[in-house]
């Protein structure tokens, strides 16, 4: 039954984001479930100068296509301990799984849940070349096979503390938790249903390169690698 209130269940803040004005409206009904959600915000990160009309509070980002900032801004507005980030353009959304994840995070099984890849073929190829190679090299975030995910559920604190990047802050957040707490705190479900963003190849390259550089900066900051190694990795990304 949808929206069952379980005893001791803490409500969640939902941050739904979209870059298009014509997103699928089916999810909005779920997001307005007051038993599950304390508050819902819609973040618009596209370039349109027109309003989008939903029943929720809408925030328009000043920097278009900086999807990674959604996570950072979401953590500023949220009041609840758990935040649910959902890509409104997603066609693979399953509410049952999401409700279960809320319960699991609430019970403390893990801190961050990522599922439903949000990527194009080109973007994934670039990610494998530039970022996943680094991940394998340092032995962190080996489950993170895709550059970005449509469904991100996590403790609100995670995105307050972790660094952010231009497109996919969730990757940095997942690695950050792995470093700070432990590998079992992150759960990544690489489901077969994939959402495809509408981006130009040159922009995709920019996003992935920036992710790689921010990742190296994080490793350096956390003293996992030294400066010499960092320079080596930067060369690797640029090549």
């Amino acid at each position: 039954m949808p929206g069952v209130v379980r005893k001791g269940f803490q409500r969640v803040t939902a941050i739904a984001y979209t870059a298009k004005r014509d997103f699928s409206r089916g999810v909005l009904g779920f997001l307005s479930d007051r038993d599950l959600f304390y508050d819902t915000y819609v973040f618009f990160y596209g370039v349109s100068r027109e309003r989008i009309y939903t029943r929720f509070r809408t925030v328009y980002l000043s920097t278009p296509y900086a999807r990674g900032y959604v996570f950072r801004y979401g953590s500023v507005l949220t009041y609840t301990p758990i935040t649910f980030y959902l890509n409104l353009e997603s066609k693979c959304f399953d509410r049952k799984i999401v409700e279960e994840v809320f319960e699991d995070i609430n019970s403390g099984f893990y801190s961050l849940y990522l599922s439903t890849p949000f990527t194009s073929d080109n973007m994934r190829k670039l990610y494998n070349d530039k970022v996943y190679r680094l991940l394998k090299e340092v032995g962190l975030g080996l489950d993170l096979l895709y550059p970005s995910y449509s469904v991100v559920i996590g403790k609100s604190r995670v995105f307050k503390d972790s660094p952010y990047t231009l497109w996919s802050s969730e990757i940095l957040a997942a690695v950050f938790i792995e470093i700070a707490v432990g590998r079992d705190r992150v759960r990544v479900v690489n489901s077969r249903c994939i959402d495809v963003p509408d981006l130009r190849p040159e922009v995709e390259k920019l996003f992935i390169e920036r992710l790689a550089l921010d990742f190296i900066a994080m490793l350096l900051d956390k003293k996992i690698i030294d400066e010499k190694k960092a320079m080596e990795y930067v060369e690797m990304v640029k090549s």
Partner: protein, 239 residues
């Protein structure tokens, strides 16, 4: 008067300059994430609070004592969050900066009526230098939605339209006048020429309605002008 200012290094000087003009001098408390602002506060002998998270401001006990709060950060989301803190602490007057005009509505929902629309200020001044034959709407008294609309006549100077035609079409709450290149007022029966500026002032909704009417007048005269020079005589009236 006690003023609480949350500001970044970019706006700190501007805001402080204005606050220093007030008489009697208000008691100012600055809050910022930037060291530059801390230096400024120390030099001016102003109380300073450093914060990392907006949430931390809730723990600042003195917040309830302030009469005015100013949220002057670079990001709209942060300004919304600060406005929410200020309102929840019972500060009666909250002034907030907005960098994307579409976020004004969200600010109003937080209970902030005094919004400074930075986007409008920047874009309207930029348009004044670049855009011709188009209406530029500038907010001059944001608190009551009082605006000024400017129109620089260039190509439409050949139409032979005079100010009287516009004055006859306006609401009584809206004032219309025109100035020439030297800044002197133009007689209402004199045809408008290249380089003249039409000025409309009034409340925003009434001005916008008036501009639609004015556009209709321009279109009508453009149609006459085309008819005159193209020798097309329609039999069925205006199409």
């Amino acid at each position: 008067m006690k003023v609480f200012v949350v500001v970044n290094k970019k706006y700190a000087k501007q805001v402080l300059d204005v606050l220093q003009l007030l008489s009697p001098r208000p008691s100012i408390t600055l809050a910022s994430q930037d060291d530059e602002v801390e230096v400024m506060a120390k030099i001016l002998g102003v109380e300073f609070v450093k914060f990392k998270d907006v949430e931390k401001l809730y723990t600042f006990e003195k917040l309830e004592e302030f009469d005015v709060a100013i949220a002057a950060l670079d990001d709209d989301v942060y300004n919304i969050a600060i406005a929410r803190v200020a309102k929840s602490m019972g500060i009666p007057i909250v002034i907030a900066f907005v960098h994307n005009s579409l976020n004004k509505e969200e600010m109003v929902r937080e209970g902030v009526r005094n919004v400074i629309d930075i986007e409008n200020i920047v874009s309207s001044y930029l348009k004044q230098f670049l855009v011709q034959d188009s209406w530029i709407v500038m907010k001059i008294i944001p608190a009551i939605n009082f605006v000024i609309a400017l129109y620089r006549v260039v190509k439409r100077g050949v139409l032979g339209v005079n100010l009287k035609m516009f004055i006859d079409a306006v609401d009584r709450d809206v004032k219309v006048f025109a100035i020439d290149k030297t800044g002197s007022f133009i007689d209402e029966y004199k045809p408008l020429e290249n380089g003249d500026t039409i000025v409309v002032i009034g409340l925003e909704d009434k001005v916008l309605k008036t501009l639609t009417e004015f556009e209709k007048i321009f279109r009508k005269y453009e149609h006459y002008y085309t008819m005159k020079y193209t020798d097309i005589h329609r039999l069925t009236g205006f199409g």
